[in-house]
């Protein structure tokens, strides 16, 4: 495996085979003298002698570090860019925001959740900072609880850990009490909780509680804190601020409206880090922003893109002087604050071999006027596929199947942007879709042609809309559905969401629709043709969508006719696993692997979700994104067949070719439809379209391929 990242190093210096005499490794190198040595050697170009004196070890040790680093795979083309990138980002953050220190965890290792990796890194940072006699204030949160869980320090004396805010309901695991207790336990420290609620009913209650001797004593301890560790919460809908019920939602809206960008220890700040005043201020029991800023060591542990504005606000406001975050967030913060030098540094590093600076500045295409591509394509397409479809009225953006719609039959309308040919237009004809609405390249049609399609497809039994789950398509089709219903045509909608790489399974509804459209359209078309009711057609189409799993891989991006340039870059030796049909990101950007390894990665992902038993039947679609030839598709199919056979899953039908493309993108996708009896019947139901023809049962064998 070329792509495997090195295992996280267990145990720090001073334990086991730890290095001699090193106790001052700069934080950004983690606890890893090998990385430090390698950085000095490979990046800073120091000699082994210079490194020896910088690290305070012998030359022979440096020599063995460098040799070991290679053996252990630390110096390894495939993983080092991620590590070096995170070091570069840490240095840049430290410089740009004048931090005392900064630790950035690489993003390459996606096997562990971010919170866990941040927790481990935060624990590492704290363990280097906490000294005997310290008072450490601890704010609440998921990430900080994770810090507590990863922290392990035994040999300190007289350390006090104090809760930075009042308490909350215990309906979640990371309450202020539990977070503080976890940290205190990890370092065997005295634990001081604030025994009052974090938010109380009134300002009077706040003042009364703070006048209580017990609470005053707890606050005195808090005032003595010389270090604090805290998380940073955004105000985004999924942040802990909302889910924990820490604040009621009404005052939150107030702070949002006044420009709050983030929350630290229960206090709101705007994008510049200034306190945002609001109704909770006098009712919140806990450390104030002013107190926080007065503490000597202020360690913030936080990561995730959605926290970028909040982190930036906290950094701008000077609330943080030690930052622990991840590489992507760190780079995001720098970019958001206008630091562009980083991009140069990172790409310079990642460039393995200088690309023969593409001597051509554009992609060659068959074009007349680039602005007319869609119209000209449709002219040709309508002429070519005349036996199957015809324009509705004068516009070529709404096409109806010949012999498709008929009285009493549910109409099937599909559609979307162009550039995916033969999707969507190739699936219009008897037994499949009744009408298709087409937009510009990669862009949804407006409601008007969709309504025309609905009217043309309607046979009095209602119309089913089936299209990919994209923001633009959803808005236009929804508006069209409203307009069609005003005209008395009942509309049901099924969004295709087969791209399992686009969102985790918990957010299944948020996934996008890609080549698996093919199966979903086929099933829907058959259901409509068989005279099922609108409700039945919707239900079975939904089932087909739920049982269709697609993962795509892109090797090169596509180019638009207007620009004739690649829309984005995939590095010379890279591929994007899980890429969507407009170039949306997937699971990971990786080195290109062998065809079998790529299929294995895809099938592993699919098997994780598809609960198929031995003996089950599936349909397989191996689809080109445009530029990948059939030869390579068959190589992929070969491995798909092997993997399914190994699980004793039977391939009932297969299709290999161009079924849902992305202009001239190089890449392919694999879609699997997990069949049941009903779906098998619908899949074999006859249809006649430009791209897919299935004959009546007697000729069935030939069609199955």
């Amino acid at each position: 495996m070329v792509l495997k990242t090195s295992a996280p190093r267990k145990g720090g210096p001073g334990r086991g085979t730890g290095p001699e005499g090193i106790d001052t490794i700069p934080l950004r190198y983690g606890d890893d003298p090998y990385v430090w040595a390698c950085w000095l050697y490979y990046e800073d170009g120091m000699t082994q002698g210079e490194i020896a004196s910088a690290m305070g070890v012998s030359r022979a040790t440096v020599n063995s570090y460098l040799a070991d680093a290679r053996e252990k795979g630390i110096v390894n083309i495939s993983i080092e860019p991620a590590r070096l990138a995170s070091l570069t980002i840490a240095q840049e953050l430290k410089r740009h925001f004048g931090l005392a220190d900064c630790l950035v965890v690489p993003n390459g290792d996606d096997s562990r959740p971010l919170i866990g990796r941040l927790g481990a890194a935060g624990a590492q940072a704290l363990s280097k900072m906490i000294k005997s006699g310290d008072t450490l204030a601890v704010a609440w949160g998921r990430t900080i609880l994770s810090v507590g869980e990863h922290l392990e320090m035994g040999s300190l004396q007289d350390v006090t850990v104090v809760q930075a805010t009042g308490g909350t309901t215990a309906s979640f695991a990371y309450t202020p009490e539990l977070t503080t207790a976890a940290v205190a336990r990890a370092i065997s420290a005295r634990c001081v909780n604030i025994t009052a609620p974090a938010v109380v009913a009134s300002a009077q209650m706040h003042d009364m509680l703070l006048a209580e001797p017990l609470i005053r004593e707890q606050f005195d301890t808090l005032a003595r804190a010389n270090r604090i560790v805290f998380g940073i919460s955004s105000l985004r809908p999924n942040s802990t601020i909302h889910t924990s019920g820490f604040f009621e939602s009404v005052p939150l809206q107030h702070y949002l409206a006044k420009g709050a960008a983030g929350v630290l220890a229960g206090r709101f700040i705007d994008e510049r880090g200034r306190p945002v005043a609001g109704p909770l201020d006098d009712r919140t029991i806990g450390i104030s922003l002013e107190m926080l800023r007065g503490i000597g060591t202020r360690v913030a542990v936080a990561g995730g893109f959605d926290k970028v504005p909040a982190l930036l606000a906290a950094l701008r406001g000077g609330y943080v002087n030690v930052l622990v975050t991840d590489a992507a967030t760190g780079a995001g913060i720098l970019r958001a604050d206008g630091v562009t030098s980083l991009d140069g540094k990172l790409s310079q590093r990642q460039k393995s071999t200088p690309v023969a600076n593409s001597y051509r500045s554009h992609v060659k295409k068959f074009l007349n006027n680039p602005n007319d591509v869609v119209e000209e394509m449709l002219d040709g397409l309508i002429a070519a596929h005349r036996p199957y479809l015809q324009p509705i009225g004068t516009s070529h953006r709404a096409l109806v199947a010949r012999n498709g719609p008929r009285p009493g039959k549910v109409g099937l309308v599909i559609g979307g942007g162009t550039g995916h040919e033969p999707c969507f237009v190739g699936y219009v004809g008897k037994g499949l879709a009744d009408a298709v609405a087409l937009g510009n390249i990669f862009s949804s049609p407006p409601p008007d042609p969709i309504v025309k399609c609905a009217v043309a497809a309607s046979g009095g039994a209602g119309v089913l809309f089936v299209y990919g789950n994209y923001a633009g398509d959803v808005m236009n089709f929804e508006m069209a559905a409203e307009l069609a219903e005003e005209r008395g045509i009942p509309i049901r909608t099924v969004l295709t969401t087969d791209d399992i790489a686009s969102s985790p399974v918990e957010d299944k509804e948020g996934r996008r629709g890609v080549a698996g459209n093919f199966f979903v359209f086929k099933v829907a078309g058959a259901a409509c043709d068989l005279g099922m009711t609108l409700g039945e057609c919707e239900a079975v189409t939904r089932k087909a969508n739920d049982r269709t799993y697609t993962v795509g891989v892109a090797l090169e991006s596509c180019s638009m006719p207007q620009t004739r340039r690649h829309n984005f870059e995939i590095g010379p030796d890279d591929m994007e696993l899980g890429m969507g049909i407009h170039g949306e990101p997937g699971v990971s950007r990786e080195r290109v692997r062998t065809a079998d390894e790529i299929v294995d990665a895809i099938m592993d992902n699919i098997f994780k979700e598809m609960k198929a038993e031995p003996g089950d039947k599936v349909a397989v679609l191996v689809n080109s994104f445009g530029a990948t030839p059939l030869m390579e598709l068959y190589i992929l199919y070969r491995r798909v067949e092997q993997r399914l056979a190994a699980k004793n899953i039977q391939i009932e039908a297969n299709w290999v070719g161009h079924y849902c493309t992305s202009l001239d993108m190089v890449g392919a996708s694999i879609s699997i439809l997990h069949l049941d009896r009903q779906l098998t019947g619908l899949l074999h139901h006859p249809c006649r379209t430009a791209i897919l023809t299935i004959h009546a049962p007697e000729a069935d064998e030939a069609a199955k391929g």
Binding site: R236, V308, A328, T329, R335, S443, A471, M475, T563, E584
Partner: protein, 211 residues
């Protein structure tokens, strides 16, 4: 007698169209950084269609509400994509909000701004912080509401609205896109102003200059 409210609104759309036309290359450039580079063209097509549709309307007898709904359908039929439904819904809602209203006082302007921003929000199901045009329309509408509540005069009202819009557009540079095609860039969208937010601020500026 000054010109009718419908005429003023039509003039507002003409001004919007002119601003978009002048700035369309800049908008496309912004979009090129994080999208597919056609926002300027899309907006220009949309607003040309709006002015064309309004030219066909009899502004002597039309109500402000008619102007808004004509603008909505004009925009939508020409554009599609996601900008189309968003502005079309916004303008249509503004039309509903202005029903029965025949003069554009500050309360009417406030209602119009809030109807547009609510329409865009409902249609796009985005929220503040998603790095979209909503990050301009929502604060602008709120500034308008605050200004009316504080009995501000016209110049202060529009100054506050414009400032909120411009701050909103600038703030999108610090946000990560979660909606639309820019979402594909994730953190790479940071540092770039959202083109939809930038054009929204231009539209609000044009409103301020006309109303």
């Amino acid at each position: 007698m000054s010109e009718t409210a419908a005429r003023v609104l039509a003039r507002m759309f003409e001004r919007m169209s002119r601003v978009i036309e002048t700035e369309k290359d800049r908008l496309s450039e912004l979009d090129g950084a994080i999208g597919d580079g056609d926002h300027g063209i899309t907006m220009s097509i949309g607003f040309k269609a709006v002015t064309a549709a309004l030219a066909a309307l009899d502004l002597e007898s039309a109500s402000p509400s008619d102007v808004m709904s004509t603008a909505a359908s004009g925009f939508l039929d020409a554009v599609g994509a996601s900008t189309g439904p968003l502005y079309a819904t916004g303008f249509r809602r503004a039309g509903q909000a202005l029903a029965g209203c025949d003069q554009l006082d500050l309360a009417a302007c406030r209602d119009m701004l809030s109807a547009i921003s609510e329409g865009i929000r409902d249609r796009g199901k985005a929220q503040r912080g998603d790095k979209t045009m909503l990050d301009v329309w929502l604060p602008a509408a709120e500034a308008a509401a605050t200004a009316v509540a504080a009995h501000r005069q016209k110049p202060e009202f529009w100054k506050a609205v414009e400032a909120a819009a411009e701050n909103g557009a600038a703030a999108t540079a610090t946000m990560v896109a979660t909606k639309g095609r820019a979402a594909r860039l994730r953190e790479r969208s940071l540092g770039h102003t959202d083109p939809g937010a930038a054009s929204a601020a231009m539209l609000i500026k044009a409103m301020a200059a006309t109303l």
